[in-house]
Each structure stands twice: as structure tokens, then as C-alpha cells.
């Protein structure tokens, strides 16, 4: 898996994406490990994200949410969100904070 590039693209993007909650799990997509890559080249912000399972019915909704929230937060950037399936998401990609939230829900 490509590392999430907090330092390179700025933590602000990740903080913004934390507002998008996976509707089934109830945890934000960053801590769920769904955001694979964020890169900023000139005025283009590119985000690669995945879902917990291929064919997830929420795919369109989550992609749209990501685009909408980034457009609103960074109106001067050209936003491109791409849904990717490799590497396949596994539960090992959940962050420590995500695991803490999962366990807190028990």
C-alpha cells in the first residue's frame, strides 16, 4: 500500500476527509484506512481512495462526498478523486485511532 502522504500534501486535506464517515462502520474514511494517497501538484489535488469491499453500494456516494467536501474546502484547486481496488483493503489498514473508535463502540 502506498503510504498516506500527510506531510507532502498537508494534514489539512486529511483533516477535511475525516468529516466523511463510512455510513456502515460509523468511522471516518481516513481512520478506516480508505484514503490511499493524497498528492498536490501545482493546482491539482489528487486523491486515491478505496472501499472496504469491491462493488460496495456506497462507492458513488463516498466518491461524491470526497469531491464535494474537498471542493468546498479548497475552492481554488482542481480536485480529482479516484476509486482504486489495489491493494485490496484489509482491516490492518485501520489506524490506531480507528481501532480505538471501533473498540469504543463495543
Amino acid at each position: 500500500m502506498e503510504k498516506q502522504t500527510h506531510e507532502e500534501s498537508g494534514p489539512e486535506v486529511f483533516e477535511t476527509l475525516k468529516y466523511i464517515i463510512d455510513p456502515e462502520v460509523g468511522i471516518n474514511i481516513v481512520d478506516l484506512g480508505l484514503v490511499y494517497k493524497v498528492s498536490l501538484e501545482e493546482e491539482k489535488l489528487h486523491v486515491d481512495l478505496t472501499l472496504t469491499t469491491p462493488g460496495c453500494p456506497m462507492s458513488g456516494t463516498i466518491v461524491t462526498a470526497t469531491e464535494q467536501i474537498l471542493l468546498k474546502r479548497f475552492p481554488n484547486l482542481d480536485i480529482k478523486v479516484e476509486l482504486v481496488w489495489t491493494p485490496m483493503w484489509t482491516t490492518e489498514m485501520i489506524t490506531e485511532e480507528g481501532m480505538r473508535q471501533l473498540n469504543r463502540k463495543s
Partner: protein, 435 residues
């Protein structure tokens, strides 16, 4: 990284009417149950019991499974549904066929109404088969889940055709053996071929997904598929042609197949990251536990144990109840709350997500109603089975009342979701997202 497609979900008018029809059918079923307490004292070939069974299997279970499958098939197979139009025609035929058939059985009118109902149902099953087969053909990868789902559709059609032949045979007798003989065939193909295979096919994808688990090994599922189908095919041949005493052996094969599925789910449970088991999943596990009862009773009804006829009749009834009002209904009562909130949420909020704060799907129904629904359901099932075994109408009535309360709570929750509209949304204010 390889790029993926966006959502394959069908339109809401393809899916949601199935949930509405099924909820009303479940309510109708429980009300009919209140007026059928006298029907449980004899043989299962009784107009009221035939009505109850067909309302349960067609109006309630098959209807909601069709609707849910149109939403879930794209998830399981990772491709779009072949035809939304076909799905809507199928809904019309299944709905009309169910109402006509229930009317015919309740009034025991064996003429044209029953023939028309059976024809409508078989037509619905043909359209359904075309839709799922063509969808599966478009799937990027043929999986064991596709095997289960496509095969279950074929068994549903076979069940329907046997039912149609029996309906015609009521008026124009042409079948060589008595009706009960074909009824056993009709019921078992429906139970093991349609419901069991379909539930396993969808369950192996959804249950690990809801538990955040990734079981890798699909060998157990291959075994499950082969054992259940082999057991069913051997049963059909034996029952129709040979009539040996090997029926319990075929039952063992089906039970072993179910065992393989349960072992697969145990693997999923062992790797799950999600510690919270919500009410919908709790009810799903209750359904899986209830499945043990019909599997045990399968041996009793397929073996010649020389039990008194009255007790055997009651056991047959409990066998049917444990499948349709037990396993299948329990599963639907739980899985409705794992599917419907997301479908409604997606349609209500897809244009608002990322711009406004939106509620979560789990906020769209009453958890208190769901908790009581699950409690009354279990009480209803246990009391009903006790009443049937004891042949006590008052106890059966008490069980029916508990079922009716279950159905009311379920229907209120379902319609609360179906009628949900997005309103008073507040835009995001940025701060600490995890706070």
C-alpha cells in the same frame, strides 16, 4: 493502482417497493395467524396453513429477497443489474400472483384464480432468472457466490413449476401420485434449493462485510455448494423414482453443507475487527442458531421412527414453522436493518454528502422498536411451537399475538425509513473532525 468503477446500485423504485410489500405481507401473515389457531391440530395440507405458508414464502420472504438482491447482486458480483425494467415486471407478477394464490388457498378455490396465480408466479420466476443469470454473466469474475445465487434461482423456478403442476392437477388430475407426495418435493426444493442456497450465497459476502472480516478460504463454500445440491438432487430422484429408505442420508448431506457454511462464518468471526455486534447482526446470529432446529427435525421427518401419527403431524408443522417463521423470518427481521437504512440513506443523501452534516443510516429507525421486535419475535416463535406441539389453541393464539406485535414494530420501522426525507441539513463547520 487499478481504477475502479463507481456505484452499480439500481434506482430506488426497483428496490424499495419490495420492502414495502414484504412488510405489509408480514403484517397480513401475523393477522391471518390470529385467525388460524384452529388449523394446527391436524395435517399440514390445510387451506389456512397453505395460505399462511404461501404468504410467508412469497409475499414476505421471496418478495424482500428479490428487492434486496437487486441491490446486493451488484455488490456480490461487482457489476450492474442486467435490467431494472425486468425487475419491475417481476415485482408486479410476484405481487399479483401472491395475492391471488393466497385468496385461492384461504377460500380453497381451486379453479382459474389459482391457475392464474401459479402462471403469474412462474412468469415472475422466469423473468427473475433471466435477470440474475444475465447479471452474473456480466460479472468481471465468476465466484462461488455467483454459483449459489444463480443455482438458487433455478431451484426457485423448479419449485414454481412443481407448484403450477399441482395447481392444475387440483382441477384436471393428471399426476400419478397423491398431492402430498408432490407437496414434499415442492417444499423441500423451495427450502433447500431456493432459500438455503440464496441465503448462503448472499450471506458469505455480506456477513463478513458487516463484521469487518476477511475469511480467505473458499473451499468450505465449495463443499457447502456441492453437498447441498447433491443432497437435493438425490432426494428428488429417490422421492420420484426409487423411494428407498435413504432419505436421512440426503438430509445428512444438506446438513453437512450447512455445517461448512457455519464453519466459514466461524472463520469470519475469528478474524473480525468489529467488536460491536449491532441488533441487526444479533438477530442474524439468532437466525443461524434457529437453523439447527429444522436440521434436527429433518432427520425425524425423513426417518421411519414409528412415532404416533398425531405427534408426527405436529412435528411436520414445527418443521415448517422452524424454517419459514423461524430461520428465514429471523434472518429477514435482522438483515432488513442492515440493508434498508443504507439504501434509503444513499438515495436521500447522495446529493448532500460532503456538503452538509448528514445523519447516519443507523439513525433512521427506532432502535428501541427493533430491540422489542427481536424480543417479541423470539417469544412468539417459542410459544407458537409449544402451542403446536401441545395442540393448545390458546397457546397458539398467544404466540400469534406476539408475532403480530413483532410485525407491527417491524412495519412501523420499515415505513419510517421508506418515508424518510432529508431536511434541515446544516453545512459543515470545520474544526476537529474526530472531536
Amino acid at each position: 493502482m487499478s481504477a475502479a468503477t463507481t456505484s452499480n446500485s439500481p434506482g430506488k423504485w426497483v428496490v424499495l417497493p419490495h420492502y414495502a410489500f414484504a412488510a405489509v405481507a408480514f403484517l397480513a401473515l401475523s393477522v391471518l395467524l390470529l385467525f388460524s389457531t384452529d388449523a394446527f391440530s391436524g395435517h399440514y395440507f390445510h387451506p389456512k396453513l397453505l395460505t399462511l405458508t404461501h404468504v410467508a414464502v412469497l409475499g414476505w420472504a421471496t418478495m424482500i429477497i428479490f428487492g434486496a438482491l437487486y441491490q446486493l447482486l451488484p455488490v456480490v458480483l461487482d457489476c450492474k443489474l442486467y435490467s431494472e425494467k425486468l425487475a419491475i415486471y417481476t415485482f408486479g407478477l410476484l405481487g399479483a400472483g401472491t395475492i391471488l394464490l393466497s385468496y385461492s388457498f384461504w377460500n380453497f378455490q381451486l379453479g382459474w384464480t389459482m391457475h392464474a396465480a401459479a402462471c403469474a408466479l412462474v412468469a415472475a420466476f422466469i423473468l427473475f432468472n433471466i435477470n440474475i443469470t444475465q447479471t452474473a454473466r456480466k460479472a468481471p469474475k465468476w465466484t462461488i457466490e455467483a454459483d449459489f445465487i444463480v443455482t438458487s434461482g433455478i431451484w426457485l423456478l423448479v419449485t414454481g413449476i412443481v407448484g403450477l403442476l399441482m395447481a392444475v392437477n387440483f382441477t384436471f388430475p393428471f399426476l400419478p401420485l397423491d398431492h402430498v407426495h408432490y407437496l414434499k418435493l415442492h417444499a423441500h426444493i423451495g427450502m433447500a434449493g431456493w432459500f438455503l442456497l440464496l441465503i448462503i450465497g448472499v450471506g458469505v459476502k455480506l456477513i463478513p462485510m458487516f463484521l469487518l472480516a476477511h475469511p480467505e478460504d473458499s473451499k468450505k463454500l465449495n463443499w457447502a455448494y456441492n453437498l447441498i445440491n447433491a443432497g437435493l438432487v438425490l432426494f428428488i430422484f429417490d422421492h420420484m423414482l426409487l423411494q428407498t429408505k435413504l432419505l436421512p442420508l440426503y438430509g445428512v448431506m444438506v446438513a453437512l453443507g450447512v455445517g461448512m457454511f457455519i464453519l466459514y462464518l466461524r472463520d469470519a468471526k475469528n478474524t473480525m475487527q468489529r467488536k460491536e455486534i449491532d441488533l441487526g447482526m444479533q438477530q442474524t446470529f439468532v437466525a443461524l442458531a434457529i437453523l439447527l432446529l429444522p436440521l434436527i427435525l429433518l432427520f425425524v421427518v425423513s426417518s421411519n421412527l414409528n412415532l404416533p401419527q398425531q405427534l408426527l403431524s405436529s412435528i411436520y408443522l414445527v418443521y415448517g414453522i422452524s424454517v419459514f417463521l423461524g430461520f428465514v423470518s429471523a434472518l429477514i427481521l435482522g438483515q432488513t436493518f442492515k440493508t434498508l437504512p443504507f439504501i434509503v440513506w444513499m438515495h436521500a443523501y447522495e446529493n448532500h454528502v460532503g456538503r452538509f452534516k448528514t445523519p447516519l443510516p443507523k439513525d433512521m429507525y427506532s432502535h428501541s422498536f427493533l430491540r422489542w421486535q427481536n424480543i417479541f419475535y423470539l417469544i412468539g416463535l417459542v410459544v407458537l411451537i409449544a402451542g403446536v406441539l401441545l395442540r393448545e389453541q390458546q397457546i397458539i393464539l398467544a404466540g400469534s399475538i406476539a408475532f403480530t406485535i413483532t410485525a407491527i414494530l417491524y412495519t412501523v420501522n420499515v415505513f419510517q425509513m421508506l418515508l424518510h426525507k432529508a431536511h434541515n441539513l446544516k453545512p459543515f463547520t470545520y474544526g476537529k473532525a474526530n472531536a
